[in-house]
Structure formats: C-alpha cells, structure tokens
Symmetry: C2
Subunit: 148 residues, 2 copies
Amino acid sequence: MDLFEQGMENEWLRQLGERGSRLTGPRRAIVRILVRSRRALEPLELFDAVRVEAPGVGLVTVYRTLDALEALGLVQRIHESGGCRRYLRAPHGHQHVLLCTRCGQAELFDGDDLEPLFAQVAARWGYQIEEHWLQLFGLCPNCRKMKA
Amino acid sequence: MDLFEQGMENEWLRQLGERGSRLTGPRRAIVRILVRSRRALEPLELFDAVRVEAPGVGLVTVYRTLDALEALGLVQRIHESGGCRRYLRAPHGHQHVLLCTRCGQAELFDGDDLEPLFAQVAARWGYQIEEHWLQLFGLCPNCRKMKA
DNA sequence: ATTGATAATGAAAATCGTTTTCAATAATAC
DNA sequence: GTATTATTGAAAACGATTTTCATTATCAAT
Ligand SMILES: [Mn+2]
Ligand SMILES: [Mn+2]
Ligand SMILES: [Zn+2]
Ligand SMILES: [Zn+2]
C-alpha cells in the first residue's frame, strides 16, 4: 500500500466528514479510486472502477460524490478538445496539468511564472487579470516509446 | 460598416466555398454574427441573434455551421469553469484568449513565451510537449468601472 | 435562363450525459 | 439501542446535441 495515497485518502475522508458528510461505503470506494488514479476519469469510467470493489453502487452516487469533492476543491474537472467530463485530483498550491494525449496519464507541474505576461496583457487591454488556466499536452515517456 | 470585419466575413465565406460548401442564407447570417461578436456565444445565443435578421433558420443549422467553422479552424470552443459551450472566432497565429468573467467580452493576446517552461517540464516528467492551452480571466475595462 | 445533381435545410424524433424525485436505508449523535 | 436525518439506488425527467428524413435551394453544366 502506498503511504502517500493512503494519506491523501484519509485526508479527503476527513474533509468530507468535517463538512458534515457521512462516511459511507460508496463514498469510501469512490475516493479510494480517485486518489489512486494516475489518469483523469469520466464519471462512467469511475463508476465501472468503483463497481469492481463495491457492486451495487449507483452512477448517481458517483456524480454526487464528484460534486462534493469538487466543492471541497479536492477534485478538478479537466478540459480537453475532445470533451470536458474527466476529473482529476486537484493540485496542492499553484500547479497546472500536463496530459498525455495518447493514454490520458496526468501529471501536475509548477514553476510557471506568468506575472510579466499578465502585466503586459493588463496594460495592453486594460483588463484586471484575476485567474489563469494553463495546460500542457504531450506524450508521456511510455507512449513516446510505444510510438517509436 | 467595419472593413476588418467585412473582410473576415468574406474570407470565412470563401473558405467555406472552397471546401465545397454552398453559400446559403442561413450560413451567411451565422457567419455575419460570429465575425462581429465581441463575446463568445452559445449555440442558443447565436441562434437568437441569427433569427433577428434571418427568421426561420433552425437551431440545427447553427450547430452544423459551428461544426463546419470549427473544422476549418475559423472558430474555437471556449472553456470556462461554468461550462464549455461558447464559441469565439479563432486566433490568427499564436494567440490566446482573455475573457471578462463578468460580461463575457473576449480578447486575443499574444506575446507569451513558455518555451523555457516546456523544457523544464519535459525534463522533469519525460514528456514530449506538443500543445499548450493558456487562458486569462479577469475584468474588462468597462466592468472594472461598473464594479467601482 | 433552364436544368439536374446533390448539398443544405428545418421539424421531429432519438440520443447522450446529467439531474431530480422519492421511498427505503444506513450513519451518526444521543 | 434509538431517533434523527443524510445518503442511497431506481426510475423518471431534463437539457443540450445529434440523427433522420422528406423538402428546398444552390450551383455547375448546359
Ligand atoms: Mn500558473
Ligand atoms: Mn502560447
Ligand atoms: Zn501516455
Ligand atoms: Zn466585462
């Protein structure tokens, strides 16, 4: 068992509990899968994965739990040209997503410094910049090999 | 009449024609609205705007024309936290979108230099970076005043 | 201008992902 | 343990988009 993921799982459950949510079987299973996935998952994919270890859980509960986790900022919706329905664990602090366009694997990176750009854009257009989205797409090490 | 927009309108129609599309009334009206809009528009908003000057046009035709324009790279889908169904004219060359979160007005900016970041991320994660999305959100000059 | 081939159209129906409703169940505080 | 009430799954409802299909309109060839 991975200690990092185990810790994250407990933390998510703690935050759910703190918010007044009850720690039910379906929720535990959903959180477990999400925390461990290296890919962003669609509700239906998540549903399938959950049913393996917790048969009987309904798709509705997957949707409801995703909403709750998103409201807590634990999970984020990932936007792609092919659609915007997959969910991934949210970053800690200032990070952005790097996605493999072939297998869907996701990583979180940091270190972007866009302040100078914001200043430039704000000056040019008179906007007050409040938020930015940055996402990188490419091939993960595995898929680079496959392709070669 | 704005010469720039007039030119863009003609160019879009030319590209549609070149692709083998017929230049119909509904398409002309849809292109006309899209080229002139300073905001990204949802299919239904676009539909309403089109109906003013071309009653009888169907919503299906709006969807179909948006698809065609997107396939030609003339129009792009805009992604927002509240949903991803609005369309905006696509940038010429390397530009990104700046959106007013209050009124929806959109601008296209350039001048971002992310190559160093790509190199850094590629080195750290072993990915081959192939594409990037960047989007800025804020308040346009008008909405800044309103708020004050 | 007339014609003919066929792309495009609008209305209606179908489809897809998601949300709502509701009665039954289960988690927590006492 | 019991009472309270959040959560559940099934079914129905929903909204946006797509498909189907018979009709119409564009455009290239006369
Ligand atoms: Mn950033
Ligand atoms: Mn860029
Ligand atoms: Zn990959
Ligand atoms: Zn504004």
